[in-house]
């Protein structure tokens, strides 16, 4: 018979994970609207792979399969992978990505709650290092014909008609490799991929994720610290540099509403397992990710820096936590008796 406390608040890991999935839905809906149903195929593919891999690993490790499979954590990882990978990525790319996330990044470390790295971001970073070109082929916005996309995923691939560089990639390529006189304004005005605020279509997907994020905040599944620190830092850094030299540095709206920034702010950065847990640590952690994201996006070799930034801060998370422990009851400053 168990010891006190004898009754518990109704809450479970499963319900937390399900609400995270629910919060992803608005963003997914917009994503499908602009980029086609291939996203859904990827989600299905990733989910099935993730559940199978999770079940296999649990079995191998001698853990109760059904109990842990039902917690939904594998699904969250799978969905995040599907949403960060190109929707027209070949099927095996997604499968290998999911396997590396579930098997290597999660279960080799002891499974749920014990992985020091964000599994979805491990998958993304691994795949973009290994297959940089495949990871940069995105469907053209508004080109939502399903059949070519299906072929792109399961072959035979004929991509020329349907792909397009992502806004981040297009801007980086233009600024880095084109002639030295290229300016941000010139590039943004010249290509169809750029929209009013961020990337065309991308800005609305970001809005969808933002709504989901607000839901997570309202459900108290995440705290304000991480999204706020992430978005604020990205805003401040990008505005600062855009004001300093608007020809070389693109402004904050582009950074916030393009690529994985919103998804990252509410769904990736906020992963509690691999991130920081103290209030101050959360702020430092998320701000660090934003800063590194901006640096990698602006100067680095990869189109989006969020995955690497998250992994880099994952590395630093234990140390940040250790050094930001909140004062314990009675060990605070004397006379701090505010109500």
């Amino acid at each position: 018979m168990n010891n006190s406390p004898y009754f518990l608040k109704p809450a479970s890991v499963q319900s937390v994970m399900l609400r995270v999935l629910l919060a992803l839905l608005p963003g997914i809906a917009v994503y499908v609207w602009f980029f086609g149903a291939a996203v859904l195929v990827q989600i299905a593919l990733a989910s099935v792979t993730a559940l199978l891999a999770e079940a296999a690993m649990l079995k191998l490790r001698g853990k109760p399969v059904m109990m842990f499979l039902g917690d939904g954590s594998a699904l969250v990882t799978a969905w995040l992978i599907a949403l960060t990978f190109p929707p027209i990525a070949p099927w095996w790319l997604t499968v290998v990505g999911v396997l590396s996330a579930i098997v290597v990044a999660k279960h080799l470390y002891g499974g749920l709650g014990q992985n020091p790295f964000n599994p979805a971001m491990v998958a993304f970073a691994l795949m973009i290092v290994a297959y940089p070109s495949l990871m940069s082929q995105w469907p053209a916005v508004g080109f939502t014909d399903f059949l070519p996309q299906w072929h792109a995923i399961f072959g035979p691939r004929q991509l020329d008609a349907i792909t397009m560089a992502t806004p981040l990639d297009a801007l980086r390529t233009a600024l880095h490799t084109a002639d030295a006189r290229a300016t941000v304004a010139g590039v943004l005005g010249s290509q169809a991929t750029f929209g009013n605020i961020g990337g065309k279509g991308w800005e609305w997907v970001a809005a969808g994720y933002f709504i989901g994020g607000i839901y997570l905040l309202q459900q108290r599944i995440i705290t304000w610290h991480m999204p706020a620190a992430f978005l604020a830092t990205l805003l401040v850094v990008s505005s600062g540099f855009a004001l300093f030299d608007p020809t070389r540095f693109v402004g904050p709206s582009f950074h916030l509403f393009t690529g994985g920034a919103m998804l990252g702010a509410f769904f990736i950065v906020t992963d509690p397992v691999s991130g920081c847990t103290t209030p101050r640590g959360k702020l430092i952690f998320a701000a660090g990710i934003a800063l590194l994201t901006w640096i990698i996006r602006t100067f680095g070799a990869y189109p989006d820096g969020i995955a690497f930034a998250v992994l880099l801060m994952n590395i630093a998370a234990p140390l940040i936590d250790m050094n930001t422990q909140p004062p314990v009851f009675g060990h605070k400053r004397k006379g701090d008796g505010r109500p």
């Binding site: 168990n2 109760p64 059904m66 109990m67």
Partner: protein, 187 residues
């Protein structure tokens, strides 16, 4: 060729001189590590490690002459602590030095005791009181359970009694993960 030899010889002389000076300048005396190791050892002074007492064993460990897994009363936990302190790998308790036993204290059967004082002389921590021709008794609170008093007793009147569990020394057990409850959730 000469150049090369000259250069290397010069280097050797300069570096050798610097090292020689440093060896004199930074000579180390004493070894505070022994105290740290001794603090981890259980102080039973039982000699099971092959050294006459805890301090000599600590000295041997500090010098690298003894393994860290020779102390049965310290148990696995003591080995872990030593491994941590010394940055060595954990090793299971060496079987030739004995096995980890539950803590016990010596008890003298007062009917049989002949008052020979041999056990008093054997006790390393003066936990046995008594005088010649008088009955002896063990001060249980001071007995370390080293068992050194057992062999000298000519009438075998000393036995080791495990310390019984009481409300005072009872420990909360490691929480067991109950998997049977899974069915109840499904219900």
């Amino acid at each position: 060729m000469f150049d090369a030899l000259f250069v290397m010889a010069l280097g050797a002389i300069v570096l050798g001189a610097a090292l020689g000076y440093a060896a004199v300048r930074f000579r180390v005396e004493g070894d505070p590590l022994v105290e740290k190791i001794d603090a981890i050892l259980p102080q039973t002074q039982c000699g099971q490690c092959g050294f006459p007492g805890c301090k000599p064993y600590a000295q041997a460990v500090a010098k690298g002459e003894a393994e860290i897994n020779q102390c049965p009363p310290g148990g696995e936990e003591g080995i872990h602590k030593l491994a941590d302190l010394l940055g060595r790998e954990f090793k299971p308790l060496s079987a030739e030095h004995g096995i980890e036993k539950p803590k016990a204290v010596a008890l003298i059967d007062e009917q049989t005791c002949i008052g020979c004082t041999l056990c008093i002389q054997a006790c390393p921590v003066d936990a046995i009181v008594g005088a010649a021709k008088q009955m002896h008794t063990v001060i249980a609170g001071q007995c370390t359970g080293c068992e050194l008093c057992l062999p000298p007793c000519p009438v075998n009147c000393i036995s080791m009694e495990p310390i019984p569990e009481s409300v005072e020394n009872w420990k909360w057990k490691y929480p067991v993960i109950k998997l049977v409850a899974a069915q109840e959730v499904a219900r």
